[in-house]
Symmetry: C2
Subunit: 499 residues, 2 copies
Amino acid sequence: MANVRAINALLARHAGVWRVRGAKSVSLSGRRWFSVTCPDHPPASPPPLPLSHTMRASIALAEQRQRPVRGPYADRLEVERAVDSVENGGPTRAMRLLGAYCHYTERGAQPGEPRPDPLMGEFGRAFTDHMLECAFRQGEWQAPRIVPRHALALDPGASSLQYGLQIFEGMKVYRPKRPHWNAPTPDVVRLFRPLENMRRLYRSAARLALPLFDAHAMLQLLEEYVRVESAWVPQCDADEEGLTPALYLRPTLISTDARLGVRRPSEALFYVIASPALGSYYSSSNNTAAAGVTLFATDAFARAWPGGVGDAKCGGNYALGLVAQELAITEGCQQVLWLDAQQRVTEAGVMNFFVVFDDGAVCTPPVDTGMILPGVMRDSVLQLIRSGTVGAAPGGRAWRVHERALPIDELTRGIVSGRVVEAFGTGTAATISPVAGIRYREREYRFEARARPLSTALKRALDHICYGDESALEAHPWLHPVYGSGRPAAASASHTQFG
Amino acid sequence: MANVRAINALLARHAGVWRVRGAKSVSLSGRRWFSVTCPDHPPASPPPLPLSHTMRASIALAEQRQRPVRGPYADRLEVERAVDSVENGGPTRAMRLLGAYCHYTERGAQPGEPRPDPLMGEFGRAFTDHMLECAFRQGEWQAPRIVPRHALALDPGASSLQYGLQIFEGMKVYRPKRPHWNAPTPDVVRLFRPLENMRRLYRSAARLALPLFDAHAMLQLLEEYVRVESAWVPQCDADEEGLTPALYLRPTLISTDARLGVRRPSEALFYVIASPALGSYYSSSNNTAAAGVTLFATDAFARAWPGGVGDAKCGGNYALGLVAQELAITEGCQQVLWLDAQQRVTEAGVMNFFVVFDDGAVCTPPVDTGMILPGVMRDSVLQLIRSGTVGAAPGGRAWRVHERALPIDELTRGIVSGRVVEAFGTGTAATISPVAGIRYREREYRFEARARPLSTALKRALDHICYGDESALEAHPWLHPVYGSGRPAAASASHTQFG
């Protein structure tokens, strides 16, 4: 394995984003790219995503307007370290769970003020020291930069603020868990299927008329950014149950064009910020995460619609959900279960939605309607089930996946009759979030069974992939390792200091 | 009339936003607010707007969360003049059509660079010297400020940039046209039904969970801003045909909350910028404005849907339209005619849509579906027709308004049979925009008649109200005059200089 690992490290650094996969050794005979599928893992190239007509038309138009799509250029990357960052030996802070010693910036915090633990606070409140940014101007991606995190200077007329020209991605970077507390911190961190996120960002850009980019080149930039911020990727030990530590990345693409006419922007800014987190999106209530969320099913508020932007990850899809989310809470639930005009379930809060039947059938709404965000976690779950990685259903029957419309009546009747045994949401921030019950038209439908065989198996499989032992998972096609991520120079000294 | 005018000026300055209307003189016996309706004008208090269920629920929730709704506080307003603004005798520039002498800032322009004429360039590219801004923090509106126009410093995690928490309004300030070129510039400018815009901004804020405000207090701030920037309101003469000069105001409310969790923001910023314009939104093609726009009818792309945010003026509603708009252009049209799932027309581009039948019936889709933006111009057109202000239809029959669903088939069949004689879009930026034809399913339906009796009459009526002789319109309930708007001190000197 060492051979492949060395080549992978070399390739990751010099030859781009591809890695040798699943082979014990390879010949380097003149070929620059390698992709060898490991047979006992899900396929490296899943079938192409079925896209809505609206999305296909948008991509065709965008690619016609911006030809060829080139950049950003990773070889023009400039890095400016924050003066007080970990790497420069600035203010650091011991955190047992982080495993490294970090300083972090929180918005609004004054120098000298006591700072809350970023890993224990609410999701997405604490940020790392640096941001990645790359401007698009005059039809070209400019030189990308990794710089200290700073406020953006935006024209008040910018169409990102006026016309919602903004898209984003959510991604996580994982560090393998240590077998025990005094084992060394692994010097590798892992991006989870990052190219899928860059591809979705590309589609979102096409849909909102924002500039396109080379997804592979963008991933190279992400990798460099992760390398700079890798000390921020939290560390856990294998015996620490229930923790899902990760560095959450937020790649964002906004228009900086300041003309008030509604038109395709001529200027844009791509940037990435990062926020460390120990738990899931719903971490503020770890009990909820275990007990499962209760969903408020409604069609009075709608998240998406045919011909709209439900399959793009754009800001507007979230703005429209805040009031519905608060109404769900006033109804004693945690999230909205969005129904379409035909009373079929679409998504749950900001997650994709899965329903499990007692005969082993697993259903989720199809993405080609344009009303469902094609989630990376959704796709991973489908692949894990289809490839048999999560084993068989209770009774020995195989799980079977159906991407089909799911009427709320079928769901509620199924819960009552016991035919529907499990439901869960999936998302990068939430990973796998089991559903405890559904409130629909003044009635509450609760899942009696607490076994949840599928979501438990999925969680275990995903945890194994993301946090599992380093060398065994080296070649997993879903993991994009970043090597040489360099534990901070100050780490060992601080280790001594805090014991 | 002088008596009322003096009182109005006094009231406008000291007692808030209300004015004495339509009376020749009034007693001030202990009452602070006056509103006397002028009987030969449309009613000052139109019937309440029918709201969608979604909007009503959002407003109820928002008002429950923020109780009481107070501020912003106009009496805490601070004004900081731009060093190089007109009022300070800074760089000025003669413009015959502007009638006053203005310096303007264009984004990206370098000092010394020749600057294009802001009135002749594309819509919304040139901006005035100042902006109004008022922050919301810790549950309170902070002191409002009028300051030199500047870039906003926004956290890259701000939910205005991540989750589309942004709403805006479009408003116009008019200056009465002079009877001839060397008549004096009137020292009054007029906001057109500004309280309606502030009320819609309030509803949009409720729908997107942004902070609420006192609409009357907000209007007071707007009035002060218009006073500071009044030299930017373009001046035309009565004999200058086809010009619709105005200062376009863009009030904007965005979240400045930087937590990555999707939630009701705790911090926000209200600001106003302004852009002078001579023509309509479609001014780049004045021929088009006269000939009328051609619409591409489609349901492959959808602007709004029941339970969504179609009745709020939020950024996301515009982001989703860019690709459709470009496809309309590739089909040889100028704008999209948005159809709903039942193939009924909803809006045209970013305008409300009206259809006129040969029997005098005027149809426009109803707003209580939540799929139509309740346009101020739309409402004004409805009121002008209902009150008989635009006279009778050809043949002497009265115009009759129907707010009802309009299937595209009825529209296209009507154009072919000659029953539909006219169609037009309405909007603040576009005012009244006649439709020349509609493209639907590979066929083109063109209006043969070029007479357009209704849109012509509406345009004339609106022009009269906005640009008509000062004293005669003093009491019009739709006009909110700003007095003491002060021609710039430098104006007369520059007048001499440029002749």
